[in-house]
């Protein structure tokens, strides 16, 4: 008797077939040939539906989950795999947690070259290595061609929050400053440059990077109690992140347009497409909110790490109606709103 699934498996292993999501031998093969070699560790090797581990005394547990659907899958400076790891690592880091473990759920489109999956998995492995996390559980589903765009990844992250750390958006208060760790907008512009409908070239690369080492330096460097808020301004950009914080803490945030670290090419792309850099996505910058008197110390710590080299104060937290405003270089000031849905390029 010949198992037809097996035939398919051995005859055309270069494409994802519906059977790869079936939970059977093809699924097993994918796990053993693609995922285990990349992520292999004793916890993942428990090979169970879930993973069980010890929690250290006095520590709190942080859990986050995020799904990644970026198109195209590969873009200058990164790919969906980098994002999927760094996204959850950074969400944990912004809770003040030390990221430990990730789970990874894959939704694959029928027909996806297995080679594409391997490349993505390899960059997840590299990203996990850089962040110092392990991928300890996973899931794979395959959907019919056309029902997803190449592949989607969901990651869930688990981390430990050390005693004494209390990071939360509602802790922003009057007298705090807003520090931005690096250039704004590079990721969004790098991804847009690869979209067929826009098609431009740029030396800008996605800033995708793990932020947990930077946050750890801040918290372990003596500012554990002083750091009020940390946030990675991903989708929706700096404007959205700060609006959410202003709302949560019921404070006003005043930005200085002159002090925003916006690379020339980001400004150029934004001018060309009629977008505002404050709404463009980032994947490797950190916003830190802490008392003004700690700003110099925090900047010193952040600038000591490559991912924080260009850290700068970009604004201040003030009393007032929950909102974000920006002072123009010429003295006026305007509201920086929550974005309205999808950012569309415009010509007029």
């Amino acid at each position: 008797m010949i198992n037809t699934n097996c035939q398919i498996l051995h005859n055309s292993s270069d494409r994802i077939l519906m059977g790869h999501g079936g939970g059977g031998r093809l699924t097993r093969q994918l796990i053993e040939e693609v995922f285990y070699p990349a992520f292999g560790n004793p916890l993942l090797a428990q090979s169970h539906d879930g993973c069980v581990f010890d929690v250290e005394e006095g520590y709190k547990l942080a859990v986050t989950t995020d799904s990644f659907v970026v198109s195209p899958v590969f873009f200058p400076g990164g790919d969906i795999g980098h994002l999927a790891v760094n996204g959850s690592v950074n969400d944990l880091a912004c809770c003040g947690a030390r990221p430990l473990y990730l789970t990874a759920g894959f939704i694959l489109e029928e027909g996806l070259p297995v080679d594409t999956l391997r490349k993505v998995v390899a960059s997840m492995r590299r990203a996990a290595g850089m962040a110092g996390v392990r991928i300890i559980a996973g899931d794979t589903k395959v959907v019919e061609r056309g029902r997803c765009d190449a592949l989607y990844i969901n990651t869930t992250g688990i981390g430990l929050v050390p005693p004494g750390v209390r990071i939360a958006p509602e802790r922003a208060r009057e007298g705090d400053v807003v520090i931005c760790s690096g250039p704004i907008g590079a990721h969004g512009v790098a991804v847009m440059s690869e979209r067929e409908s826009l098609g431009f070239s740029t030396s800008l690369r996605s800033d995708t990077a793990p932020l947990n080492h930077l946050t750890a330096c801040l918290l372990e460097g003596g500012l554990k109690a002083e750091v009020h808020v940390m946030r990675d301004p991903t989708r929706g950009g700096v404007a959205t992140a700060l609006n959410e914080i202003a709302l949560a803490a019921s404070v006003h945030i005043a930005l200085e347009e002159d002090s925003l670290p916006i690379p020339e090419a980001v400004t150029a792309a934004a001018d060309m497409l009629g977008l505002d850099p404050l709404y463009i996505a980032n994947e490797g910058i950190l916003l830190v909110i802490l008392p003004g008197e700690c700003a110099a110390e925090a900047l010193g710590i952040m600038r000591g790490r490559p991912e924080g080299r260009e850290a700068a104060v970009i604004g201040r937290v003030e009393a007032g109606r929950p909102s974000v405003r920006i002072r123009t270089p010429f003295g006026g000031s305007r509201v920086v709103d929550m974005p309205m849905g999808e950012q569309l390029p415009r010509i007029c």
């Binding site: 098609g199 709103d337 415009r346 010509i347 007029c348």
Partner: protein
């Protein structure tokens, strides 16, 4: 030189605002007719820097805003009922027609594509020979060549599956309509620099002469805009009301882009047409000439000529027309910021990012509106 950042110099801005204040002896109302300029004025809060007497009025300078509702309906019908691929600029996606927006049509399964350049739609038509591709081509003079170049290329390549749904406007008739209104409050015009880059500005001499209103060709950077306002005030204060001045000389010449003008004249002819919120303007629109009629989506798909349909803006209480004619400010509309917001606009000036209401809402100060 980048020809952008150099015109954002703080000393220049301060110098200009000081000079404008020194010159101003009475109230003047200056209208720009360009959504890009409206946007920049709001973004840099230029109005806050001007003396109290100087009021900026924001004219009907957004082709998205003045595109008739009926044409948005045609676009949606093409993408849904006719099964065509409808491509357009991102600007048009949120503009409400009588049966919703293109964004909603896309969500319901219509093939609607956002594009940056009309030529990209020609490439799409070439790549999908079995499928009709319609570019919803909106624009003032600035954008016409981009649309017509795309059409010429489609003709040259023999692409029978490409057509344009046109919504073309020409600026001078709108200025004349505004000036002909007995209650017109405009003292001077800032002419849109990028329109003038194509058309030149010789045509404005007759308007300035006839209506005794100075016209200043103006750019888009903050110093450019204040420079345009500076010259407007200088001409008004000096009584030179019939003057036309070019304050955007690096990009605009008196005769304009003659090659593009020739292309436009070859392929388009003036037509009477509806400006949403304003009404029918004699020779206010442009349409494809007879030899190109086969590429006009309205003709090709036998859609009824919706461009002539009146919009029902007044039914919703939207004050778009009065706002675009400079009679009202967005904040004077009861819907502005209340039930008319960028995510659910009641009228086109709020739907288009470039629209005056959207610009005012987005960059509002606590002075202009209390939300």
């Amino acid at each position: 030189m980048r020809y952008t950042v150099e015109y954002r110099n703080k000393e220049h801005i301060t110098g200009l605002t000081r000079a404008i204040s020194q010159m101003t002896t009475r109230a003047w109302r200056i209208m720009e007719i360009c959504g890009g300029q409206t946007h920049a004025i709001a973004r840099y809060r230029l109005e806050d820097m001007l003396p109290h007497g100087i009021r900026l009025l924001h004219g009907p300078g957004c082709p998205v805003c003045v595109t008739p509702e009926g044409l948005v309906d045609c676009a949606i019908a093409l993408a849904t009922d006719s099964g065509a691929t409808l491509a357009t600029f991102g600007d048009m996606m949120r503009v409400p027609g009588s049966r919703g927006t293109l964004m909603e049509a896309r969500a319901e399964g219509a093939d609607v594509r956002v594009m940056y350049a009309p030529l990209d739609a020609v490439a799409l038509a070439a790549a999908t020979p079995g499928r009709e591709v319609v570019f919803f081509a909106i624009g003032f003079e600035t954008t016409l060549a981009a649309h017509l170049a795309a059409l010429s290329e489609a003709v040259r390549r023999g692409l029978g599956n490409f057509s344009l749904l046109t919504s073309f406007f020409t600026v001078p008739p709108a200025m004349e309509a505004i000036l002909s209104d007995p209650s017109c409050e405009v003292d001077a015009f800032l002419a849109a620099g990028h329109v003038c880059a194509v058309t030149g500005y010789a045509g404005y001499r007759r308007i300035a002469e006839t209506f005794a209103r100075p016209v200043v060709v103006t750019g888009f950077e903050p110093a450019d805009l204040l420079y345009g306002i500076y010259h407007s005030v200088r001409l008004l204060e000096g009584g030179e009301t019939r003057a036309v001045v070019n304050a955007y000389r690096r990009a605009v010449s008196e005769e304009g882009n003659l090659r593009q003008q020739a292309l436009i004249n070859e392929m388009l002819e003036p037509s009477d047409g509806e400006w949403r919120g304003i009404g029918l303007l004699p020779s206010g629109c442009l349409r494809l000439r007879k030899p190109y009629e086969g590429y006009d989506a309205i003709v090709k798909f036998a859609l009824r000529d919706a461009a002539g349909e009146r919009t029902s803006a007044s039914a919703t209480g939207c004050m778009a027309g009065e706002i675009m004619l400079g009679k009202k400010l967005p904040a004077e509309c009861p819907h502005f910021g209340a039930d008319c917001l960028p995510d659910h606009p009641a009228g086109a000036p709020m739907a288009s990012t470039e629209g005056v209401c959207a610009a005012y809402y987005r960059y509002r100060t606590s002075k202009t509106i209390n939300i």
